[in-house]
């Protein structure tokens, strides 16, 4: 019998923080707002840590379900406010609360000078609430509530500087693009209800377990593909990734928390959570793998050409999410979630670090105006180095372990072409990240701000042009250092082994009658004697790819900084295509948005609204006025004329009665 953890407290703590700051924050001084925001997030983290300690001590039998209250009961269908704890949600819980708390701390320093400080923390806590609901839900419907809620929080925070048109537009773009994905998710849920009559993870898993593996296109394949459509929206995969780069309009800590570490990984979590469905639908799994690989590759190529430091990281995020889906597509869910975790560490770190750079340069985001910052902001330089090395996949940093795991799993379970693209992407990733690193921290400073030797250490707001390059305050440095340590050491966490039981139960291997199901999934490492050496070979390849990227970036952006421009001129057609993000935004605009606006304007607005509805209403009003114009002559105010009308009316009635009688 498991102890009662009161799991519901974790999300509700965050909600309380959001409510207090949202309702009363306007009257609080900033110190109180920050204290409330940090207190409730910190408490949520401690609660989660308490649960985690109990789990790690082995006294808890997973999976563990807690029912808070019943929610919807309709016939045989029911969905409850119930929370589900297994290894997968445990990892997500710790990542969300832990990284979330660090980013809250960082935000206090970063957002101190901005208007709407209380609003910011209220939204951020609200996001935590929905994200925790998402990862702790025990059924798809409650998960969907969290899913939509994080979308809302993301919209609010992207549009945080809503006075800027571009921010408001980016918020809308994110929200609308996500609607398309949510449409797919909803269809998948309807199919599940129709087939299994339930949305509980366990019930659905049992139901799916009884079905045979689908050879062609069947119900489970449809469910899988529609779920993937939902994941594409939330996790910014092809074809719905376009919103994420624009989402960089939000404050930088938001990019770190929502658009790198947590929310965008919700799609990966959802696919991993639905692994029983995907295991039975190889076609859907192939779709996941292909989408993930293509996204990883194309987003990485775009990343090479971007000059805005945050946009490089945004495309990098899209690309790394592609890696996670690539892993899921190879049925290596544990590797995907492992990469999710390490990615949360190093990408959160990189975003926060880039925020620190932007802060130091008073709002400058263009890398062409940076350079030589390594001496001026040494702390930021140190932590960014840790993050860059981690994402580039150089051992023994965190990114290496998870990325290598993914590539190995793809190599051994999937087609080799996906592995080759993944390896190529690893090289490109290393290249563009070191390009960012060299352009930002090495060479000559190319910006306009004078060197910041004036040394006042208090927290300045950025974007106010107060001059001087300055290191960030301690409240921003400390979370950066913690994340840097996690990026360095995070790879040694045995996440795949910890997660193995989740993906072992009811998986395709067990059903296929191989017997030792649990051992099979873990058995990827011990599969065959010769695979051990293959694994080392592959490891060498991926390290080589990372090292090659570093070398190339060093040559092009440090030794010969004039070369990239000449290369770009040499292949100007290709360069311009990539730099314009393959014109995807333009194509979407031309294919979908412009026709939609055109139809809306010409048909719905001018045709239906103006032509139909308005005409009916206006003509009705005009008709009423004209009848009134005629009828008002009766209302002369002359008493005897009223009496006359009365008599005439009575006469008509009498005549009618008489006529009835005569007839």
């Amino acid at each position: 019998m498991n102890p009662n953890f009161n799991l519901w407290v974790i999300p509700v703590l965050a909600l309380t923080g959001a409510a207090i700051n949202g309702l009363f924050g306007r009257r609080f001084p900033k110190q109180v707002v920050a204290a409330v925001g940090l207190l409730f997030t910190g408490a949520a983290f401690l609660w989660a840590a308490r649960v985690a300690l109990a789990v790690f001590s082995g006294s808890v039998l997973l999976p563990h379900t807690e029912l808070l209250a019943s929610w919807i009961r309709s016939g045989s269908f029911h969905a409850d406010f119930a929370f589900y704890l297994d290894q997968l949600s445990m990892v997500m819980l710790l990542v969300v609360t832990g990284v979330g708390f660090l980013i809250h701390v960082y935000s206090v320093g970063y957002m101190w000078e901005e208007g709407g400080f209380y609003r910011y923390f209220s939204y951020l806590n609200l996001f935590m609430f929905f994200m925790l609901t998402l990862v702790l839900a025990n059924n798809y419907l409650l998960m969907f509530i969290g899913w939509e809620g994080v979308g809302l929080a993301s919209y609010l925070l992207i549009g945080f500087f809503f006075l800027r048109d571009s921010a408001a537009a980016a918020g809308k773009k994110a929200f609308i693009t996500n609607r398309i994905g949510d449409f797919g998710f909803l269809i998948a849920l309807f199919l599940l209800i129709q087939k299994f009559g339930s949305l509980d993870f366990t019930t659905v898993a049992e139901g799916v377990g009884k079905l045979p593996t689908e050879a062609g296109f069947g119900l489970l394949t449809a469910v899988g593909i529609f779920l993937m459509v939902g994941a594409c929206g939330k996790s910014a995969q092809i074809p719905l990734y376009v919103w994420l780069p624009d989402a960089m309009e939000g404050p930088t800590p938001v990019s770190a928390l929502i658009h790198a570490a947590t929310m965008v990984t919700a799609g990966v979590y959802m696919v991993a959570r639905s692994h029983v469905i995907f295991d039975k639908a190889p076609l859907a799994l192939a779709v996941v793998a292909i989408i993930g690989t293509l996204t990883a590759f194309f987003a990485a190529t775009i990343g090479i050409t971007q000059t805005d430091i945050k946009r490089v990281l945004a495309y990098s995020t899209v690309s790394q999410l592609g890696y996670m889906f690539m892993a899921c597509g190879a049925a290596a869910y544990a590797a995907g979630v492992f990469h999710l975790m390490t990615h949360a560490f190093f990408k959160g770190l990189l975003f926060l670090g880039s925020g620190s750079v932007i802060h130091a340069l008073s709002g400058e985001q263009d890398m062409r105006n940076m350079g030589g910052l390594r001496k001026k902001i040494p702390w930021t330089f140190a932590v960014m180095t840790a993050g860059t090395v981690a994402i580039a996949g150089i051992p023994p940093f965190a990114g290496f372990w998870s990325k290598d795991e993914i590539l190995w799993q793809v190599y051994s379970h999937g087609p080799k072409i996906l592995w080759a693209l993944g390896l190529l992407t690893a090289f490109i990733t290393s290249f563009y990240m070191f390009r960012l690193w060299f352009m930002t921290f090495f060479g000559e400073y190319r910006g306009k701000l004078e060197s910041g030797d004036h040394g006042h250490g208090d927290a300045h707001g950025h974007g106010h042009g107060h001059g001087g390059i300055h290191e960030s305050p301690m409240i921003m440095i400390v979370p950066l250092v913690i994340l840097a340590l996690l990026s360095i050491g995070g790879g040694f966490i045995k996440a795949p082994e910890f997660l193995a039981p989740v993906f072992a139960t009811g998986s395709v291997h067990v059903e296929a009658g191989h017997g030792e199901g649990a051992a099979k999934v873990e058995g990827a490492v011990t599969e065959a004697p010769e695979s051990k050496s293959t694994e080392y070979w592959l490891m060498g390849f991926s390290v080589g790819a990372g090292g090659l990227g570093l070398l190339l970036a060093y040559l092009l952006y440090h030794r010969r900084p004039e070369l990239p421009g000449r290369i770009a001129d040499g292949i100007s057609g290709l360069y311009r295509t990539v730099a314009s993000k393959y014109y995807v935004d333009e194509i979407y605009n031309w294919m979908l948005i412009a026709p939609l606006i055109d139809v809306s304007r010409r048909w719905l607005w001018r045709g239906v609204d103006q032509g139909g509805i308005d005409t009916v209403v206006n003509d009705g009003a005009i008709g009423a006025r004209e009848v009134g114009e005629i009828a008002r002559h009766m209302q002369s105010g002359n008493l005897r004329s009223y009496a006359g009308w009365l008599a005439a009316g009575a006469a008509v009635v009498v005549a009618y009665m008489v006529w009835l009688g005569v007839r």
């Binding site: 105010g637 008493l639 005897r640 009496a643 006359g644 008599a647």
Partner: protein, 100 residues
């Protein structure tokens, strides 16, 4: 015995006279008398029906009408006197202060 229709026709003629007088006369006293004429036209049809069907309710109704008419006459004449005192006319077309 005189048939019922004779009474009814006479009643209708009386009522029509009352309506016509009400509509075309300007003197308020004449209008007042026209109203009385209409009431009595109706009274005539009441008693005619009562006699025809041997039912007392028609006759009782006539008494009610008379009472109302008397009350109306009392109030109406008082108003007429009051109007004459203030306006020094009995022409209803000139008593039009409430008209827009």
């Amino acid at each position: 015995m005189i048939p019922l229709s004779y009474y009814l026709v006479l009643s209708a003629i009386l009522f029509a006279c009352g309506v016509t007088g009400f509509l075309i006369k300007r003197n308020i006293i004449t209008i007042f008398m026209s109203i009385e004429l209409m009431l009595n036209g109706v009274n005539l049809s009441f008693v005619a029906f009562a006699a025809q069907w041997h039912a007392l309710s028609g006759q009782v109704f006539v008494f009610f009408v008379m009472v109302v008419a008397a009350a109306e006459a009392a109030v109406g004449l008082a108003i007429i006197i009051s109007v004459y005192r203030t306006r020094e006319t009995l022409n209803v077309d000139r008593v039009n202060l409430l008209k827009l």
